[in-house]
């Protein structure tokens, strides 16, 4: 690695500045709505009637907006960061079957849960708690209240 990771306080300040910049120039950071939006965009040319009649896709329409571009930007920024830090890219050993299942199930649950709760780590925890939303404080408490015992259980099982 060419460059070390930022420390927690360097990273926390940088993230806080980006959060404030987003609030001041558009709206608070958020990412999870863009996943169903990507699904809607992909399905729309194939099954336009289904997308038009689905109650959720009527709320999350198949359009390209600020947040969808933000989400694309995160991947680009992640690439630039990895390059600058000299992280080894794409050279990890192939994941085990267990790891594949954990990633698929984990991905399914974080999106289903985030959409049901109305936000994820960025939308609820960072943006929502910055707004002092009671909803986001409850979300954060429940996420860690569930995640901590679950992670300790998985660690005991030797799944990591």
């Amino acid at each position: 690695m060419k460059k070390p990771y930022w420390t927690w306080w360097q990273g926390g300040i940088a993230l806080g500045l980006i959060s404030a910049f987003a609030f001041l120039t558009h709206s608070g950071l958020g990412t999870s709505t863009s996943y169903p939006r990507a699904v809607a965009l992909a399905l729309n040319p194939l099954v336009p009637d289904f997308v038009a009649n689905n109650a959720y896709f009527q709320r999350v329409e198949p359009i390209v907006n600020w947040q969808l571009m933000l989400v694309i930007g995160i991947a680009v920024g992640g690439f630039i960061g990895a390059k600058i830090m000299g992280l080894s890219m794409g050279s990890e050993p192939a994941p085990s079957t267990l790891r594949k299942v954990m990633l698929f199930a984990g991905g399914f649950l974080i999106l289903f849960g985030a959409r049901l709760a109305g936000g994820c780590t960025s939308g609820h925890v960072i943006t929502g708690i910055t707004q002092l939303s009671v909803s986001s404080l409850i979300f954060g408490a429940v996420v860690f209240g569930t995640g901590i015992p679950a992670a300790r259980y998985f660690a005991r099982k030797g799944w990591y």
């Binding site: 992640g78 909803s135 660690a155």
Partner: protein
């Protein structure tokens, strides 16, 4: 600036910062949830405090209206529990997963396949779930300022300083357990392996 370009530029900065911190490595969150190295939690709490300290004076001067997230007990609690379980399985969230993908983590494709499937299934069950999960026990856009009454700037600043106090306390715990900042992204949970030979 065009709103789409603005979103892209903000996202690039966001993704870059996530990668530089190390939260695009799933080990960072596995360590945090196992209370081995709390860097990810300290980062989130610091970001919130910095945001509040910067934004609330601007809001008090009328420059911005921060708004709030809607509180509906069923969806937020059940969704949070589902999210927490997924968080512990994947070690990434919808934002950090994208930074990890950009950083060349090929196994994140499995997470993405799950994430898009989860989104699709949610769209299918949204309408039947809505009356119970979202429309009932719905308290609207409630903030701490409304709960405690008083001035948003004051409530915000008190909250931010309490949060920073909590961060320094968590950092003191990390120092006690010898959890170094630069090692946050190296998986240390195996150290609690059955033999417990490592102190």
């Amino acid at each position: 600036m065009n709103v789409l370009v603005l979103g892209l530029v903000t996202g690039i900065a966001f993704g870059y910062v996530l990668q530089r911190i190390g939260v695009a490595q799933c080990a960072c969150l596995f360590n945090a949830l196992n209370l081995k190295n709390l860097k990810a939690v300290k980062v989130m709490a610091t970001a919130i405090a910095v945001g509040i300290l910067l934004l609330y004076p601007i809001q008090a001067m009328g420059g911005i209206a921060l708004g709030a997230r809607t509180l509906y007990i069923g969806g937020v609690v059940v969704g949070g529990a589902i999210f927490g379980l997924g968080f512990a399985l994947a070690g990434l969230c919808p934002g950090t997963a994208l930074a990890a993908l950009g950083g060349g983590k090929k196994d994140v494709f499995y997470l993405m396949a799950g994430a898009l499937s989860g989104s699709f299934v949610y769209a299918l069950v949204y309408e039947p779930m809505r009356p119970l999960m979202i429309d009932s026990l719905n308290f609207g856009d409630l903030t701490l300022t409304q709960v405690f009454g008083g001035n948003a700037l004051l409530v915000g600043y008190v909250f931010a300083f309490l949060l920073l106090g909590a961060v320094f306390w968590l950092d003191a715990q990390d120092r006690k357990t010898g959890a170094a900042d630069q090692e946050a992204c190296t998986l240390t949970v195996q150290k609690q392996a059955p033999s417990k030979t490592v102190a």
